[in-house]
């Protein structure tokens, strides 16, 4: 990364390191370096402080451009029944924990929540969500037994949520890799079951991404997006040292708004996404 003799080469090397080590990916880093070179030639930036601010502004606008739901919290969409939210993503990304956190913030906001434990496969998955439902004091719909069809849990939960007129129904799904065709088909079927009951539902489909994930996050966004339109991302585990730079690609290439970030394992560790905070953290 060299743009001219006025700018210290160490600074440029340091900036390249920040860009690449953040997980924003090769092409995004290259395009930022290009804009910086151009800006320098046009005298729009003249020293390293200005370059840093220039880069931060560039990233901020990518994160917000045309994405009016950036940082928008979950709100009632359905005025005649439950707002239904499906939570999807690969194994271990933080779905179940994020559901607990979302539920807390919704309940704190004065609305009612019902949970559906539609992970009928993994050991103790239902127990895990049940413990959270008890801590939160919300009703949970569980499968009849292990290995039963997740679509039937979704069906029962949707029925009950409508009947009881809860404000929100949040559906926990099993982790799955997008390379598993049968599991992606299963997810598709679950969404169709919901649609049959409420045509505009699910009103939100949130993809959960692990903050340590590299470039595969983009593939996850594409493939999970084929099952159902993704209305938002939650990136978890940003309380670690990972920067989550791949979010820049999620916005730029897939136009999926980032709604929240997970900052820990406790129920209050959920923050609505702030492009400003994110970009500051990139340079820490």
């Amino acid at each position: 990364f060299t743009i001219g003799s006025k700018i210290d080469q160490d600074t440029l090397d340091e900036l390249e390191e920040i860009l690449l080590s953040s997980d924003m990916g090769f092409e995004v880093a290259e395009s930022i370096k290009e804009s910086v070179s151009k800006a320098y030639k046009n005298k729009e930036v003249e020293n390293d402080t200005e370059i840093k601010l220039f880069i931060q502004d560039e990233i901020k606008s990518i994160l917000k451009d045309g994405l009016e739901n950036t940082g928008k919290p979950i709100q009632k969409i359905n005025l005649n029944g439950p707002t239904i939210i499906t939570i999807i993503g690969v194994n271990g990304s933080g779905k179940t924990t994020s559901i607990a956190k979302l539920t807390k913030s919704i309940v704190d906001g004065g609305h009612s929540v019902m949970l559906a434990a539609a992970d009928t496969f993994r050991a103790a998955a239902v127990e895990q969500l049940t413990i959270w439902s008890e801590r939160l004091g919300v009703e949970i719909v569980k499968p009849a037994k292990t290995g039963s069809d997740p679509a039937s849990v979704v069906y029962d939960a949707t029925e009950l949520a409508i009947q009881k007129n809860v404000d929100f129904l949040i559906i926990d799904t099993a982790g799955r890799l997008h390379t598993q065709k049968d599991l992606m088909a299963q997810l598709h079927k679950m969404h169709n079951v919901i649609k049959k009951k409420i045509p505009e539902a699910p009103h939100e489909t949130i993809l959960i991404l692990d903050g340590t994930t590299g470039q595969n996050a983009v593939v996850q966004g594409i493939e999970f997006g084929k099952v159902h339109d993704i209305t938002g991302l939650i990136m978890t585990k940003l309380d670690g040292s990972a920067k989550g730079g791949v979010l820049i690609r999620m916005c730029k290439e897939l136009q999926i708004p980032i709604r929240y970030i997970g900052m820990g394992e406790q129920i209050d560790d959920l923050e609505t996404f702030s492009p400003e905070k994110f970009v500051d953290a990139l340079f820490e």
């Binding site: 895990q128 890799l177 040292s241």
Partner: protein
Amino acid sequence: DLTEKLTNVFDTVRSRGKLTEENIGQACDSVRKALIEADVNFTIVKDFISRVREQALGEQKVKKIKAGDYFIKIVSDELTSLLGEGNAEIPFVKDGPTIIMMCGLQGSGKTTTVGKLAYKLKNEGRKPLLVAADIQRPAAIEQLHVLGEQVGVPVFSKQNSTPPEICIEALAVAKSENADVIILDTAGRLHVDEELMNELHLINKKVKPHQTYLVVDAMIGQDAVNSAKEFNDRLELDGLILTKLDGDSRGGAAISIRHVTGKTIKFVGMGEKLDALESFYPDRLASRILG
């Protein structure tokens, strides 16, 4: 695809199928891009590329093999050697149960891998005891009990006890169960969490596991070096396990964790079921990383 790109770099009329400084430079740029997109740590990529460039420049006199094929061979050989040899052998001790401790970041696949390892060892005629040392994640203990039941091995868990206390008591339990392997399932933790890293260090000190394996998700990005280095510095790992390799992430993190710790990648997770634990083949992963 990288092989095509590289073949095109060397097959132009100008280079006439020879290794020149110019086409080596172009080829190195393509490889650099491919490796970063594959999640290999960018500092490691830098050193790797300079070694490859040096080797390629030193071999300009090679006439027998086509230049492009020769360059590709340099790259994949270097990458394979960076990954190190796999070694699925577990060094069991003769005088008492062998203690294996699993550790790693949240959600990397530790508990599932404990189940898989127990399944493998039971099929090899051993008697593992599983230890539920994660007391903080909701239903973590239950999860291990379910897996133990599926495999058909005992699980030790205890209420109102700290993880170090549970692991110490497990040694006595292993005696009464006549177990010859003890596998400790620990809670996922951040390498930057002082308190939890101290807890792991304490378990290590009190229980002295014979084998400590870091369980890493194959889709992890640039941060892989940071967590792997910290766990290794605190615990002196004996091996690495790469999970979720049945996905399509390129797996470049394997290079990062191997390079920064110097430890062997012993197993790879290839699915959620108990039998989805395989030996590690560096040449297979090298070609996957190169894409």
